[in-house]
Structures are given as C-alpha cells and as structure tokens.
C-alpha cells in the first residue's frame, strides 16, 4: 500500500518511511504541504501522514484542502509536536483519522498505521471468535476469556470491549463510541461512558503487562493501544 508522508524535517520523514516500509508498504515523502497536494491530485495514496507544522501549506490547511477537494480522500494521521489537548481535538475534528505526538515509539507508530490501513481495507466479515494476545472474544456467547479464564461482562461491557479490540490502536471519539454502543448521544449522562470504560478496563485488567493499555484522549475519546513488547 502507498503511504504519503509530509514533513519538513528529513530525519522524521526517513524515520517514518522506514517504519512504513518495514510493515511492507510503499512510502512516498514530501517536504511540504503544497508538494503533497500537487501529488494528491494525480496520484493515489492509501494513507497520508501529515506534519502539523510545515512550510508552504501546514498540516491543518492540507487537511482542509483534502476534505474540500478530493472526492475519495485517503485517511489522514496528523503528527504534532504539541501535546496540547486543543491541537489534537482540532485535528481530529477537522477530519483527521488519528494523530501521533512526536516523538513516539516506532512500535506505536506502526500499530497506528496498521490500524488505519486495516480499517480502510477491512472486508467487514463477521468472525465469531477472535483472539487478541491474551484475550479471546466469543461474539456469539458474548464472553471474553483471558489466559483461558472467562471474565464476566455485561452486554454493554462486552460491546465496548469488542469495539476497542476491533479498533485497537485507533483513537475513537466519545460520540462514535456512544453512537455505536448506545445508539444515541443525547440522553446519555456523560459519566456513564467513563464508568463503563473504567469497568471494562479493570475487569479485563487492560494494562501494559497484559499487552494492552487504554489511553484516554482527554476531551475527545479513547484508544486501546497494543503494547509492543520488543
């Protein structure tokens, strides 16, 4: 698959290109936003990794340009030096599919890239059983087993766990989660979601020792990260 990487820092583009190529994809690098947009008009990419701060056209402008110009825009991962919450939510709300804060661990970056590519290329086939590290989900029985032991979950908790595992390494917005699980965003008390996630987190002991962690994007949503034990 073809991944476009736009960043004005050559070290970063090379670093990212290497990760992308290690995952068996093709990386094309650009040193600023305008070069990228020119290429996007005549070329097709499966994923765009955009730096926030760039000469020519910055990340957010490029993102806007893409959603306004391209009919079938590829998914976008924004990269930012800033961990400021507002920047992240701005990027996600502007149409980015996910974000990465620099500097990030290479394993995490690879997982994120794969998560996006996996979604866009997913066949949507329903598998009754799926296994993620120590965890095994039975979608018929709606049970989760961890190291062979069954963990008892309520229906909603199972749905949440299922949603996270399917979309592991992807940042999910609160709205998305609520629409998916409760099919509403309106009448649900905001704390309900937090408490459900907290419960799933402790029941399944989702923590790095067990290969996963739940990452809270405050003010936006959640992400289930797989821990690269390299």
């Amino acid at each position: 698959m073809r991944v476009a990487i736009a960043d004005d820092e050559i070290d970063v583009t090379q670093f990212l290109a290497k990760i992308v190529e290690e995952q068996g994809h093709v990386a094309v690098t650009f040193s600023d936003g305008s070069l990228l947009t020119q290429a996007l008009v005549r070329d097709t990419f499966d994923l765009v990794i955009l730096d926030w701060m760039m000469p020519g056209k910055d990340g957010l402008e490029t993102l806007k340009w893409m959603s306004e110009t391209l009919t079938d825009a590829p998914p976008v991962i924004m990269m930012t030096n800033r961990t400021a919450k507002q920047d992240i939510t701005d990027a996600l709300n502007a149409g980015a599919d996910d974000y990465i804060t620099k500097p990030e661990d290479r394993g995490v970056i690879a997982a994120r890239i794969n998560a996006i590519l996996r979604r866009t290329t997913s066949t949507g086939a329903f598998e009754t059983k799926a296994s993620y590290g120590k965890y095994e989900l039975d979608r018929i029985e709606q049970t989760v087993t961890m190291d062979g032991k069954t963990v008892s979950l309520t229906a909603k908790e199972f749905e949440l766990a299922d949603l996270f595992f399917r979309n592991r390494d992807r940042t999910l917005s609160r709205n998305y989660i609520m629409e998916t699980i409760w099919r509403t965003t309106a009448s649900l008390a905001t704390r309900t979601l937090d408490m459900h996630i907290s419960r799933v987190r402790s029941k399944l002991t989702l923590k790095p020792e067990n290969g996963f962690r739940i990452f809270t994007v405050f003010g936006y949503g959640y992400r289930l990260e797989t821990i690269d034990k390299g």
């Binding site: 704390r191 907290s198 923590k207 990452f215 405050f218 821990i227």
Partner: protein
C-alpha cells in the same frame, strides 16, 4: 526682614524713643506742675502735726489797729522783747527785717539791748536778686545793733519755681565761694534742741532743696503781738516755747502761696513755724532728683515693655493701667518714707509706650499679613485674594479677610495633599527627626491593622519586616538617618520581605525645608512582589537552562561517546524524554500562571491508570511493579487532565527513580470526607530510602531551587514544584512524608466533583 529681628528692633526703638521723650519732658514746666499737683493731692492725705512748743506771735490786723501803722517805732519792738524776757521763752525768731537805721541811735540801741541775753533771739537777713552794679545778689543785713546782739542771723529766702512754697533750702549757697547761710529756722532749731545742726541739715548739701510738709492751716498756737505787748497773755503760755514773731496782717505783704488744695496764701511766719516743726520731727521730704529721677522715670517704661513681650495683647492695656497705678502707689509709699519720687515722667512714659507699641505691632501684623499673602500668591499656593470686595472696611480688616481666604485655600490644599497621600498606590510614612511617624497613608494602616502614627519607625520595621532582615533594615534606617544623604539613589533604598510574604523596596527621601533644615524623612514602600516573583521565575529559567536541561543533554553526549548498543540507546532516549518533559513542565507552569482554571469532569481512577500505564515502560526497565489500588468508588474530579496527569506522572517518576529494583510502587486511591465534603486522595508509596528529613519541609518549594542538596534529591528541579502548582490549581494539596517502615509517601488530595 526676619520677624523676630524686627520685633526686637522695634521694641528697642519704642523703648528708646519713649525714654528720650520722657527725659526731655522732665525739664518741662508742665511735668513739674503735674508732679506738684500730684504731690499736693498725696500730701493732703497725711499732714504732720503742728509742734506744740512753737508759738507764733502774730503782727495781725488787730495789732496794727491797736499799735498803729506799720512800720512801728523800734521801741515798740524793744518793749516787746523786754516783756518776752520775763516770760522766758526758749528761743525767739524775729522774722522782721530791720535793715535801715532809724534817724537817731536811741531806739536802735534799745532794741539791740532788748534782744541781747536770754532767750536767744535770731534775726533774718535778706538776699536781693539781682544785685546792683552787675552783682548777682546783694545781702540786706539787719542793723548793726541787731546783728551784734542777736544769737544768730539766718537767711529767710522763700522761693519756688512755681511760686508755691513747697521746697525750702536749709542752707543758702550764693555761689562764687561766698559764705553759706543757714536758714533762720535752722539756727532757731539748733538753739531749741541744743544741737550743732539739725539732722536734715547734716544730711543735705548746702543749697539742696527739701520739701516742706505743711501742717493744717492755723494749727500752730498763735497769739497777737498786741496781746503780748499788753501782757494780756496767761502766765506760762510763752515759757519754754519757741517763739516766732512775724507778720500775718494781710496788708503787710509777707504772705506766700502754699500747696494746699484750697490754694490761698500763708503768712511767712506760719511757713517758718512749719519749717521749725518739721526740723524738730526731722520729717523733711527729700525729693529724688537728677539722674535718679531720670532713672526712676524711665524704669517703668522698660518694665512695661518687658511685660509687652511676655503678656498677650489683651493684657497690654491692663498692664499699662496697672503700671500707672503702680507708679502712683510707689510715689505714695515713698512719700510715706519721706522721699518724693515725681511720677509724672514715668506716667507720661507709660502713656506714650502703650499706643506706640500697639501701633507698631499693628503695623507689623499688617505688614506680616500682607507679606505672607503676597508670598503665598507668588509661590502659587493660592489664588488671587484682595480683589474680592471684602466687607471689612479698613486696610487691616481687608488684610485679615485676605489672610483668612488664604488660610482657607491652604486648608483646602492641605486636605488635598492629605487626600492624595492617602490615595497613593503604595504604603508611605513620614517620620520626624526623632524617628517618630507623624504621617502615614491608609495603606500603611490597612497593612498594619492600626494607625502607625506616633510609633517609632523601628517598631514599625519590627512589625512588618521578616525577622531575618529586621536588623539590616534598622541599620539602613539608622545609617541614612544620621548621614543626610546626598541624593545618592542607590544608598537610599533597601529591599526586604514582609511578614505577610510580599517583597518591598523601601525608599527614603529626606524632607528639607526652604531653610535647608532637615525635618524628617519620607519612607516610601513600593510593593515589588510581582517583580520579585518575575525575578524568581527568571532565576528558575536560568536554573532550568543552566542545570536541569544541561544535565540530561550532557548524559546523551556522554552516551554517544561509547558503543551505541541497546542500553546506550535506551539511556539516550530516556534522557531526551526527560529534557522534553522538563520543557513541557516549564511551558505548562508558565501557562498555568497565565490562564484561568478550566477543568473537565474526569474519572480520577481512569486518569491514574493512564498515568501508571504510561510509565510502565520506565518501571519495567527497573523491574518495578506499579500497583493501582482503587477505592475511589468511581469518583470524578474537576481536572485539567493533561496537567494533572503530568503532575501525577512526576510523582510516579520520582518514586521510580528512588525505588530499588524489584520493588513495588503502590498508587492508592481513597474517597475520604474532609469538612463534610468528599475528597479523593492518591497516595503514591515507594519502598525506597525515604526523603532526607532536612529537605522534607522545603520539598515542594519553588523558589528554593538553588539549593544544591535539594536539587540532587529532586533530580529534576521543576518536577515537584510543578506538582504543587497543579495541586493548588485544582484546589487540592500535596504533601510528602516518610513511612515508619521505610519508603516515602506522596499524598495528593483533590476535592471530588459532584455529578451534574
């Protein structure tokens, strides 16, 4: 001109002018007249008793009618003296001048024989002024027979300047070295009292005036010449008496004006009797004259002038009147002691001085008011005044009104100044030369809780300045107070911290009046707390850049030097991340001081787990276990998630750093109730060596970051200070303590956010 100098000069001038006027006046007749009339009034109050031993033989109108027209033949007198001899008087004065020999010697010889022997007979001698042929005087002696046979010849000059007989001379000095003549009465007295001379005669110089006190009119025993001649007097009436024979008849011309209130004339013989009586009782009145008189006339003037200096103006008139009465009383008292002090000069002086002084003072006052008003206008302190059509008519009234207006304006100005003072944005106090606060504005009072006016500046310093700096501030005040500063800005202020945690610069500027006198000092306190904290922040930045940032970077460079194996890469990564976290901490801290708190509803246990998970790789590295024990009962907090995460991250990072390998870090969440409200506490416990007790109290202190020991203990300078900043921002707190069994506990306490 200096007001005081002017006062002294005018005082001297008025005293001198009055004195000179009085000295001149003393030679005026009018003054004498006035003195005399005062004397007459005073002397009328206490007249002496007539001496009983004196007997006047009067040549009265009846004698003239019976004996014949004057002059009588000399044998009439001879016959009288023959009779007198038998009646045995003590002495006889014959106040009739017989200076021309009669035609034949017989009667003259008979008269001479009649007065010879006992009793002693004294006869008069006249002086005639001026004498003939250019001589100043001539004597008119008695005839030879009288002169040879009389017991003595005395002069009988009676004269006074105002023609009233007040003064007599017991001794007449014609001058030119001529013979001096005692008075007839002095001679008679000597004979009567058998003395060399009278005490009064002995006391006085020849020619000196004595004042004669008069007994009541007609109080001397008197018999008619005719009665005596015809022996129609009782036996013993004349015996042992001092007889004075003289004319009383109106037509004989021997009558003189005398100082009686009723006025009128007195026969010369009665005047003689009064003299003799006074000689006997030695009660002549001695007039004060010459320089003594001048001195006594001037003295009250200067005494009154002195009184003017010390008494308020309303007492000036009273004291003037009092002085008038005092002078009169002094004269009266002196008179009782037989001394006559003429008071008129002094009275005149007093009457002169009072209006003169009043006039000069009024003028001085008027000038002063005018000058002051002009001065004030010139200095621009007040607006125009005199054209305000003031109702008071005269010039002094107008000046008073102008000054009144000026005072009003100055009062307004003063009020304005004090208002300005109290509204100054910084505390300010004014102390006098003694270091006593005499003025301060409201801010000082607010800060102090009470007025500092009247306190010593040292006391104020003790109450305001932190103990460690008190000595320095007091020294500074003392040093600059003793040395009048030469506008050296740098030496005139001192910086100190107040007990309530603020930082001040105290500037002192001396108050010097227009006469270059040092009156006191203004202490102006500028609150530079904001500046000081900015300084501290700058210090922090420097600290961060110079040490905290450099240390990990040097470590990276050191790691690059060796073989870039896996562990070296790890170290490099960790140090780089540490640098980043430092930078982020710093930026966040700066941001937090600038922005309002904007928390969101956060499930605290979630946030804690996130933090624990994010630090898992670091813990894994050192084989540490991070255990989260959640007893928070799904409590939410209102939090700025990133900042709070970083703060908790710093605590855990700190715990990781000080934990031995294979140990456990426990993060315990509890829901607790403090003051009836729910709180969440997070205790981060490690199994390390604990915190150095010396550092413990200052662990979170931001500004003590230059302490090297502490620096080493904290590892990252800003880490724990950041935690405290965040905790405070979340209305929470953080504290650290050592557990008894070893290891440190960091406890973060936050208020729970209620649902809704």
């Amino acid at each position: 001109m200096n007001l005081r100098l002017r006062l002294v000069l005018e005082w001297l001038l008025i005293g001198s002018v009055a004195s000179i006027l009085v000295i001149f006046a003393l030679s005026w007749r009018g003054i004498d007249d006035f003195d005399n009339s005062i004397y007459d009034q005073l002397s009328a109050a206490g007249r002496p008793q007539a001496d009983d031993d004196i007997l006047i033989v009067a040549i009265d109108d009846r004698s003239l009618a019976e004996i014949g027209k004057w002059p009588w033949p000399r044998d009439v007198h001879a016959e009288l003296f023959e009779k007198l001899k038998r009646l045995q008087p003590r002495t006889v004065a014959f106040d009739i001048l017989i200076s021309e020999p009669s035609g034949n010697e017989e009667p003259d010889n008979a008269l001479g024989a009649a007065i010879a022997g006992a009793p002693p007979v004294f006869v008069p001698l006249h002086f005639i002024f001026p004498g003939t042929d250019g001589r100043p005087y001539e004597t008119e002696p008695p005839i030879r027979q009288l002169a040879e046979n009389a017991a003595g010849i005395g002069q009988v000059n009676l004269s006074d300047r105002d023609e009233v007989i007040r003064r007599i001379e017991l001794c007449f000095d014609p001058g030119n070295g001529d013979a001096q003549w005692p008075h007839l009465m002095e001679l008679q007295f000597r004979a009567a009292a058998a003395q060399e001379s009278s005490p009064a005669f002995g006391r006085t110089k020849c020619g000196e005036d004595l004042i004669l006190p008069y007994a009541e009119r007609d109080s001397f025993a008197t018999i008619s010449y005719a009665d005596l001649l015809r022996s129609q007097v009782p036996d013993g009436l004349v015996r042992n008496r001092d007889v004075i024979i003289g004319a009383t008849a109106a037509g004989m011309g021997d009558s003189h004006p005398v100082p009686f209130a009723s006025g009128g004339l007195m026969p010369g013989v009665e005047i003689m009797a009064n003299m003799l009586s006074t000689l006997k009782s030695d009660s002549f009145i001695r007039p004060v004259g010459g320089w003594q008189k001048i001195a006594l006339s001037i003295l009250p003037i200067w005494l009154l002038m002195l009184a003017f200096l010390y008494f308020p103006p309303r007492l000036a008139l009273i004291s003037s009147v009092a002085f008038l009465l005092l002078v009169l009383a002094s004269s009266a008292i002196a008179l009782a002691w037989k001394i006559w002090i003429p008071p008129a000069g002094a009275l005149l002086g007093i009457l002169l001085v009072y209006p003169l002084w009043g006039w000069r003072r009024l003028q001085a006052m008027s000038d002063f008011m005018e000058n002051e008003v002009k001065q004030l206008q010139k200095e621009g302190e007040i607006g125009p005044l005199l054209n305000s059509g003031s109702p008071a008519g005269d010039i002094v009234g107008r000046q008073s009104a102008a000054l009144g207006t000026a005072i009003d304006q100055i009062r307004d100005l003063r009020r304005f100044v004090s208002d300005v003072l109290s509204d100054l944005p910084d505390p300010m106090a004014v102390a006098d030369n003694e270091g006593v606060v005499i003025l301060s504005n409201d801010l000082v009072e607010q800060r102090f809780g009470e007025s500092v006016d009247g306190m010593q500046i040292d006391e104020v310093i003790d109450a305001v300045v932190v103990p460690s700096q008190r000595k320095a501030v007091r020294e500074h005040v003392k040093v600059t107070a003793t040395v009048v500063p030469q506008n050296n800005e740098a030496e005139n202020y001192i910086r100190f911290n107040s007990v309530d945690g603020r930082t001040f610069v105290m500037r002192r500027s001396p108050v010097i009046n227009d006469k270059e006198r040092h009156l006191g000092d203004i202490y102006y306190l500028a609150d530079i707390s904001a500046l000081a904290s900015a300084e501290a922040q700058r210090e922090e930045v420097l600290q961060l850049l110079s040490h905290d940032m450099r240390a990990p970077q040097s470590a990276i460079i050191a790691s690059l030097d060796g073989k870039l194996n896996k562990s070296a890469r790890k170290r490099i990564e960790q140090n780089a991340r540490r640098t980043m976290r430092l930078a982020q901490d710093f930026v966040d801290m700066a941001r937090m001081t600038e922005t309002e708190f904007a928390g969101e509803d956060i499930l605290f246990a979630d946030l804690v787990r996130d933090v624990a998970d994010s630090l898992w790789p670091l813990a894994e590295e050192r084989k540490l276990k991070i255990e989260v024990v959640d007893r928070s009962d799904s409590a939410f907090v209102l939090a700025e998630a990133e900042a709070l995460s970083r703060a908790i991250g710093n605590l855990v990072d700190n715990a990781i750093k000080f934990s031995p390998q294979d140990s456990q870090i426990t993060m315990t969440l509890r829901r607790i109730v403090i003051n009836k409200s729910n709180h969440i506490s997070l205790t981060i416990s490690d199994e390390g060596g604990g915190i150095d007790p010396q550092i413990l109290p200052r662990l979170f202190t931001k500004f003590a970051s230059s302490d090297r020991e502490q620096r080493r203990a904290k590892g990252t300078g800003l880490g724990l200070a950041f935690v405290e900043t965040v905790a405070t921002r979340h209305s929470g707190s953080v504290r650290a303590e050592n557990r008894k069994g070893g290891g440190a506990d960091f406890v973060l306490l936050l208020p729970e956010a209620e649902e809704g």
